[in-house]
């Protein structure tokens, strides 16, 4: 007497011989499953690749989390007990001011393992002037080494080099066009704080985001602080995190830790996230409906097979097969359809993705993770078993007396 495994051997052997006997039928349904799996894997990989690409591009030019000073609010004394307070309040204008104790805050954040980069930045408005031309710009004072970990500016340099400090500045390509300047030219920066400076344009970058390319002027921290009248201060701490989709949670955590206002990229790009969510939803719909049609295909083939094999089911029952064994024989056939089809389908989708990556528009690269293929195979096999449930139960319920006389 052997155990459950030994028993399953028999069901497996019978199921496989049934499948081999109905070779053409088995092959056709396996190809049907394969097409479904190929569509599911390809669409999933395509959309995942696209989304990763969009997010990478978005995050390539912004911090994952920005820490800002909390808004200034009016301090109102609480009313004395038993009195009622009527309050008419003008909201305060938010002036440019430094984050308190930013050195300590920054040092603390450097210790957090959740964060991959911390970069204090001072930024504020100014005018850039060359001759008669005047453009409103954003001055961004950076520590280049730290800032590079947030936005790899070096990768975006169009001309010149990334060099700030000692009166050097790096400006956006559209701003350079608007002012008609090139690397090596001079530019006057004016902050309206009785501070102005003439800087030397050391480099021109192009981030591919209009707003940034037309307005950003990178300086070193000291010069920006002087121009913005914030000696020794900074206005923003830019952060990056390892798990970009946890940014919202980490922002809340860091916000509590530092008592600063923390904005994650997820919140500042709510529109984009909505679009991505909608896209994922439509992908999931496609997957579900393809899976349903695959399941019905398997179920119908097995239903026909049960009718065709009625007599053989009767013989098996008469020779000692239990209802459970008959049930398992047909469930196994469903599982094999699913597994075989998904192996073929995975290979096909691999080929499709390769073709897309090699000969496609080349806008972005689609990776095909092994986990996706494994997942597809597992799902297809489960779908096969599930689809086989109804015909299998019908086979198991057949009355052996009737089945054996079935012609």
């Amino acid at each position: 007497m052997t155990g459950v495994f030994g028993r399953l051997w028999t069901e497996w052997t019978i199921a496989i011989s049934f499948l081999r006997e109905g070779r053409a039928q088995s092959l056709m349904i396996a190809i049907g499953v394969a097409v479904g799996v190929a569509v599911i894997v390809f669409v999933t990989a395509l959309i995942q690749g696209l989304q990763v690409n969009i997010i990478e591009r978005t995050l390539g030019t912004q911090a994952h989390i920005r820490l800002l000073s909390p808004d200034e609010i009016n301090q109102v004394l609480p009313p004395a007990a038993g009195t009622m307070q009527l309050l008419l309040e003008d909201k305060r204008a938010q002036r440019l001011r430094s984050i308190n104790n930013w050195q300590q805050v920054s040092a603390t954040l450097d210790q957090l393992s959740l964060l991959t980069a911390v970069s204090p930045v001072v930024s504020g408005p100014a005018f850039a002037r060359r001759g008669e031309a005047l453009q409103s710009v954003v001055l961004v004072g950076i520590d280049p080494v730290r800032y590079q970990k947030i936005i790899p500016l070096d990768d975006y340099m169009q001309s010149g080099q990334l060099r700030v400090g000692a009166n050097d500045a790096v400006i956006g390509s559209l701003l350079a066009d608007d002012l008609g300047v090139q690397v090596g030219n001079k530019l006057r920066l004016d902050t309206g704080q009785q501070n102005s400076a003439v800087v030397n344009i050391a480099g021109i970058f192009e981030l591919g985001v209009r707003e940034l390319d037309a307005r950003y002027v990178y300086l070193d921290l000291k010069q920006a602080q002087a121009l913005l009248n914030l000696p020794g201060g900074i206005t923003v701490i830019d952060l990056t995190v390892a798990d970009i989709f946890a940014a919202e949670d980490i922002a809340a955590q860091v916000g509590r830790l530092t008592s600063l206002q923390a904005e994650s990229w997820i919140k500042t790009n709510a529109q984009l996230m909505n679009a991505l969510t909608a896209q994922s939803l439509s992908t999931n719909m496609i997957i579900v409906f393809v899976a349903i049609s695959v399941a019905f295909g398997i179920a119908s083939v097995l239903s026909v097979s049960v009718v065709q094999r009625t007599r053989e089911i009767g013989i098996l029952r008469a020779t000692g097969a239990t209802r459970q064994q008959i049930l398992r024989i047909f469930l196994i056939q469903g599982a094999v359809f699913g597994l075989l089809g998904s192996v073929l389908g995975s290979a096909a989708s691999y080929l499709l993705v390769w073709v897309f990556n090699t000969f496609g528009p080349g806008l972005f690269f689609i990776p095909i993770p092994a986990s996706l293929l494994l997942m597809a195979m597992l799902l297809a096999t489960l779908t096969g078993i599930l689809a086989a449930a109804v015909p299998s139960r019908r086979a198991a319920a057949l009355d052996p007396v009737v089945a054996i006389r079935y012609v």
Partner: protein, 241 residues
């Protein structure tokens, strides 16, 4: 009365109705009492519609009686569930049908092994050896690896007999086993049944239309309109040959 070791099957007041509770309810068997012993070589005869097939299905535990009791090897079977009846059927009854009913996808050897595969899983060397011996006993040792559609009708029926014997059953039930064989092959198959009965300590019950076959059996049970009309011992015809 209790069953001794020589009794294989005992029926007490066995009745079978179809369409129970409906206007067209019909009783096919009206109380059958029969005892079949270990060494019996019996024929069940009767005109069409007499209830032979119904009785055979009940004897083979393929169907359940409406009332009455069926004792197989001393065990009452009417209260058993499907799994228990399947197990008892698998271990103690062998079936041979008119249309040899082999599984087309398997070889002759695998068909013979099927009852063991279903009850025990993957057959061991001993089981395969046993199956080969049975195929040899029915004269088919050279055809072990043939598929059923590569065998003649008589050969297929002999494979079916070998399959019925692999579990060393106490009772072999055969429904018109020679029904669609030519006379000479039919005689060979019949002789095989007789040999099984003599050599393997196995009761044989043949359902047949053929008066010559029933006359050649040791005992003839005559079923008419759902009742046993006669149950007679024959002259040992097989020994007259």
């Amino acid at each position: 009365m209790s069953d001794d070791a020589m009794t294989v099957l005992r029926l007490e007041g066995l009745r079978k109705s179809y369409n129970v509770g409906q206007p067209n309810e019909i009783e096919v068997l009206h109380g059958i009492d029969v005892v079949i012993g270990r060494s019996d070589f019996a024929a069940l005869v009767g005109p069409s519609g007499s209830g032979k097939s119904t009785l055979l299905n009940l004897l083979g535990l393929l169907d359940q009686p409406s009332s009455g009791e069926l004792y197989l090897l001393g065990q009452a079977t009417s209260a058993m569930d499907d799994a228990a009846r399947t197990a008892l059927r698998g271990s103690s009854i062998g079936f041979v049908f008119q249309f040899h009913h082999l599984i087309q996808a398997f070889t002759a050897l695998d068909n013979v092994l099927m009852p063991l595969m279903l009850s025990r899983g993957k057959p061991d060397k001993l089981a395969v050896q046993q199956a080969r011996e049975l195929l040899a006993a029915v004269g088919l040792e050279k055809f072990a690896n043939r598929k059923p559609n590569e065998l003649s009708g008589g050969q297929q029926q002999r494979v079916a007999i070998a399959r019925a014997l692999i579990t060393e059953p106490a009772l072999l039930l055969a429904d018109e086993p020679t029904g669609n064989l030519d006379t000479r092959t039919a005689a060979e198959v019949f002789e095989l049944f007789h040999k099984v009965n003599r050599e393997r300590d196995c009761a044989v019950l043949l359902v047949t239309h053929d008066p010559r076959l029933s006359a050649a059996c040791d005992r003839t049970i005559n079923l008419v309109d759902g009742r046993i009309e006669s149950d007679t011992l024959n002259q040992p015809a097989s020994q007259q040959k």
